[in-house]
C-alpha cells in the first residue's frame, strides 16, 4: 500500500482508502472514484505537478492535485 503520489504513469492500482476531509471524499465519490475501484495513472504533471488518473471501468479521467493525491492510498 502506498500513496497515489508514489505511483508511476502507466501503472494500474486499486483505491484502498481516501484519507482526505469530508469535502474531498464527497467530491471524489461524486466524480465516480470509489474505494475499491481500479484506476490507471495516465500522466503526471512536471515539477511536482498533479496526477492524472483514468477510471478503468468508466474511462472517467480526473486531474488530482498533489495535496489530495497524497491522501489517496492505493494498492498495486
Amino acid at each position: 500500500m502506498t500513496s497515489l503520489l508514489q505511483v508511476e504513469p502507466g501503472i494500474s492500482v486499486q483505491i484502498v482508502e481516501i484519507a482526505g476531509g469530508e469535502a474531498t471524499r464527497r467530491r471524489l465519490f461524486s466524480l465516480g472514484l470509489h474505494i475499491g475501484d481500479r484506476i490507471e495513472i495516465a500522466a503526471r504533471g512536471i515539477l511536482r505537478g498533479p496526477v492524472l488518473v483514468r477510471h478503468e471501468g468508466s474511462g472517467v479521467t480526473v486531474a488530482i492535485g498533489r495535496a489530495i493525491a497524497q491522501k489517496i492510498i492505493v494498492m498495486v
Binding site: 465516480g32 505537478g49 480526473v62 492535485g65 489530495i68
Partner: protein, 643 residues
Amino acid sequence: MDGPGAPTIVFLGQPNCGKSTLFNALAGHKAQTSNFPGTTVQHTHSEATIGGRRLNIIDLPGMYSLHPSDPAEKVALRHLFLERPDLVINVVDASILGRSLELTLELLEMGRPMVVALNMTDLAEKRGVLVDAARLAARLGVPVIPTTATHGRGIKELMEAAVACLDRPCRGPRPVWSSDVEREVDAFAARIPAGFPCISDARFTAVQMIESGQTFCDAFLGEIDPALKRALDETRGRLGTPRGKPAYEVIAAERHHLAQKLFEECATVRRRLRRPWSERLDDVLMHPVMGYLVLAGVMLGFFFVVFKIGGPLETVLLKPLAAVKASIAAQLGSGLFFHLADGLLQGIGGGAAIVLPYFLPLLLLMALLEDAGYLARIGFLLDTFMHRIGLHGKSVAPFILGFGCNVPAIAATRILESRRDRVLTSLLIPFIPCSARTTVILALVAFFLGPWGALGFYAANIVLVAILSKVLSGFLKEESPGLILEIPTLKVPRPGSILLKVWFQLRSFLRFAWPILIAGSVVLGLIQALHVDAAINAALAPLVEGLLGLPRALGVTLIFGFLRKELSLLMMIQALGTDYASLPSVLTSGQIIVFTVFISLFIPCLSTLAVLWKETGRKIALLSAGLSVSVAILVSLIVRLFV
C-alpha cells in the same frame, strides 16, 4: 416568462453530459455549450412549442449529485427544490453510464416525473459500450430515449416522450437499498413531524438530512427541535458505525452499488481493439515535455492569429472612418454639432473598427479551445505553477476566459469550490488584459514597437498577475482545497456549436457594450465642445503630468477608461487632437508604454466592477478598485523609471 399555464421542463445532468447541446438543439440559440465541466454557471430559460403545446424549458448547470460542492451546482439544486418543475429531463452520458446513473437514482428518490435522455450514444459505442435503452427504461420505470445531441438525433422522440409524461406523469419506483439502511431511513422519516418544511416527501427529506453532514442546517435543527436533531445523530451513528464509515458514505455506497448493478444489467462492454484516438492524442497533450511545447505553441499561435487578422482588418476599417470625419468637419465646422457628430461617429466606428477585428478572432479561438476540451487540459498542465502562486489548476479556465472579457470570467469562478479561491481569482481577473485592452495594447505597443513588444507586454502582465496572486494569497488565512478536475474526452469541435457561442458573446457585446461605447463617445464630444475637459484635465494633472509624465490632455481619457477600456484609445487620439499614424510625433515610445500600462491596469471597467459586486460582494469590489488603482500607479512609475 410564460403564464402559469405553460408547464416547466428542466434539463438536468452531470457536468459535460451534453445537456446544453441538447437544450440548444431544442431551444435554438440560447445556452452556451462547451467541453469544460461547469461552464453553464446559471440557468438559461427558453420557450418552445411542441405538438401545439407551449413549454417553458430550462437548462440548469451540471451537477454531480444532489449534494452540491460549488456555487454553480447550488444554482441547479435551488431551482430543482424551490421551483418544483413539472418534468425533469435527466441527461445521461452513455459513455460513462455507471457514474451518470448515480444522479438518476437520486432523482428517482425525489420522485419528480422524469424522462431520461441517454446522450452521447455515439461516443459510448466508440468506446465499446452498448446500452440497451429498453431494458434500462424497464429497470428505472421511466422512459429512456437514446439521443446524440451533437447530430440532433433522438431529439424529436425525446420531446414526444416528455410531452406524453406531462399528461401522464412518469414516476419510477424508488430505488431500494440494503434492508438495514432502509429500516433506519424509514424510522427516521417517521419521526419528522407534520408541518416540517419537506422537499418532496418526508422520506426524501430524511435522506437529505442524513446525508447533508456538517452544514449550518444541523446547528439550526439543534436549536429548533433538539429531539429531532438527537434522532438524526443517532440514525447517522447506527448507519455508519457498523460499516466503519460516515452515514453519508454508506448511502453514497448504496447508490453506487445500485448504479453499477444497473450498468451491468443494461450495458454490454466489448473489449476495444485499440485505444480511441482521443486517448492517444492525450498521451501527447498531457506529456511532461511535449504537453508544454504544444501549450506554448497553441498560445503563441493564438496571439499571432489575433494579431495577424486584427491588425490588417483594423487598418481597412479605419480608413473610411477618417474620410467620413473629414467630410463632417467640412460641413459642420468646429462647433457643438461637429463635436457631437464626431463623437457619434467615433463611437460607432470605434466599436466596429477597433473592437471587432480583435474581439471576433479571439472569441473564435477561445470557443475552439473550449469545445475541443483543451481548456481543462491547460488546467492540468498549469496546476503546478498555479499552486506556487496560491491557486490551483481550476482557476486557469476563468483566467483564460478573462482574455476575452473579464465579465463572464468572473461569473465562471462559480466552478471553484471554496470562497477563498473564488475571491482570489476574482481579484486577479481584472488584471488580465481583456480583448478591449488587447485592442489598446496591439494598437499602441504592437503598432509602434512590433509584435514582440506586445508579446513582451503580455508576458510582463502575466508575471504581474503571478506576483499579485502570491502577495494576496499571503493575506488569506485558509488553504486552497486543491485540484480535483474532471478532464472531459477530447472532441472534434463542431463549427455550428462554435459559431453559436461566438454569436452569443457577440450579441451581448452589441447589445450592452456598444451602446455604452457610443454614448460615452458622444459625451466626450460634448465635454470637448463645452470645454469641460480643461477642468477635468486640470484636476487630474498631478497624476497624469506629475506622476506619469504624460501630456495633460490625456486626463479625460482616464474617465472613459472606466466606462469602457477600448474607448481609451479613441479618446486618446481625440484628446490629443491628432490621428493614429502621427501619434509618435506627439508621444515618445516611453510615454506610449506608460499610458498603455496605466490604462490596462487601472480600475476594472464598469461592467466588471458590477459583476464583481454581484458575485463577491461590495467589500471585494471596492478592494478590487482600490487595488487596481494602486497597482496601476505603482507599475506605471516603475515602467517610467526604466523605459
